[in-house]
């Protein structure tokens, strides 16, 4: 089940300079884990030592912030899009 993941510029060094990549999984957590399997080093940029998502990383599923869905357990299916957006960029539109 490929899910499209949008990767911000600072992480594109890890994804072979690609801004959009495919990954698989049934929820956000699984997709991000799969991303690490494909592109080593992504995980430590997204999660802190205790395994929680870093505060200044925002994850969106189809333009909705996962903090207002079910967090990392938010389910995803084929055709959904996940965006990784550094908060400093001003985030997404409300």
């Amino acid at each position: 089940m490929p899910i499209l993941v949008r990767v911000p510029t600072p992480l594109q060094k890890l994804t072979g300079n690609r801004g959009e990549v495919n990954a698989s999984g049934n929820n956000v957590k699984e997709v991000l884990a799969n991303l690490e399997e494909q592109y080593k080093g992504v995980r430590e940029r997204l999660y802190d030592e205790s395994g929680t998502l870093r505060r200044f990383i925002n994850i969106y599923v189809n333009d909705e912030d996962i903090r207002f869905l079910q967090g990392e357990s938010t389910k995803v299916k084929e055709g959904d899009e996940i965006s990784i957006v550094p908060a400093i960029a001003g985030g997404k539109r409300a």
């Binding site: 600072p10 550094p86 908060a87 001003g90 539109r93």
Partner: protein, 412 residues
Amino acid sequence: MGYVLGLQCRECGRQYPKEPLHVCEFCFGPLEIVYDYEQIRRVLSRETIARGPRSMWRYQPLLPLDGDPTVGLQVGFTPLIKAKRLGKVMGLNNLYIKNDCVNHPTLSFKDRVVAVAVSKAKEFNYDTVACASTGNLANSVAAHAAEAGLKSYIFIPADIEMTKVVGTLIYGTTLVGIRGVYDEVNRLCSEIAANFPWAFVNITIRPFYGDGSKTFGYEIAEQLGWKAPDHVVIPVAGSSLITKVWKAFNEFAHLGLIDEVKTKIHAAQASGCAPVTTAIKENRDFIKPVIPNTIAKSIAIGNPADGYYGIKTVKESGGYGEDVADDEIVECMKLLAQTEGIFAETAGGVTLGVARKLVAQGRIQPDDVTVLAITGNGLKTQEAVMGDVGSPILIDPRLSAFQDLFNGKEGK
């Protein structure tokens, strides 16, 4: 001559050199200035400060410049006023107003951050400064760029108050109005900042810029006779000012200039744009962005850059957050003007309205030393009160015309 050791990520602690950087390349956290407090302790005392200039530069060792400031030398050291008449109305015996309505040169607290930012931009050898602004920052960047002889590009939401537009254009800047809300302006500016070699004061050199706001807190403590108040109520937009006032009190305590800080810092927002105070009330530590809709345009930021730290400041200090509706903002602008003779902008109405709620809730007690952060001038937001202050009484230039109206009656 400066006391800056470098920059550090507030989140993961990674260290960076003293350069125009603002975000940690590893974890995306914001960077913060690291000062050499041991050296500062040797040169800074109540006496050296008291002998310093009557401006924000009396605290120069605690500001992030390497040399002396080159613009904005007269900024700051605004009045701290004991508000007796307003205090009486509010039931407060020790109420103070920190009055940045009269800050030099553009009549808001933003002159503090810009004096530092533009001086720093010159140290970094930029020839152009820029900003994303809700209005006050626009005025200040344009003015200081003119004073410094630098070029400037200023980005605002297209629908801000006319006075703030004119009060930017007059300085001969390039002003770009964007059809959208501030958060869209800000997002666009971070993209522009990545493509143009300009010092965006609140993006590219944000860590340096932000520390200018500390002087608002230093002055309150010094003007209260070297002590931190029991409460400060602060209008919140991006959450920089509130975070830095808290930092200022704690730095003063750390340096032994004041005793232990017991100040409760309270956040004030307009109900039409209250992402920070709503998070505080709902006991969340993250922001749910909103689309602003309020007359308090200067603080209409729906997705605040330092929102997390704003919430943290309030929680750490034991303060609270409240919001007030637009009609109450106008009512409080009038109350402040009619009790203290101070015409503050909409953000001042927000601060006063929130303080009144906090008193009603029992969070502020009658004898507590309470400071209202009045951060901008009402002449810049006249649209907000235009329909609510009445109009002049028109008469012909004859004594009898006046007598017909006022004989036996009293004026206000």
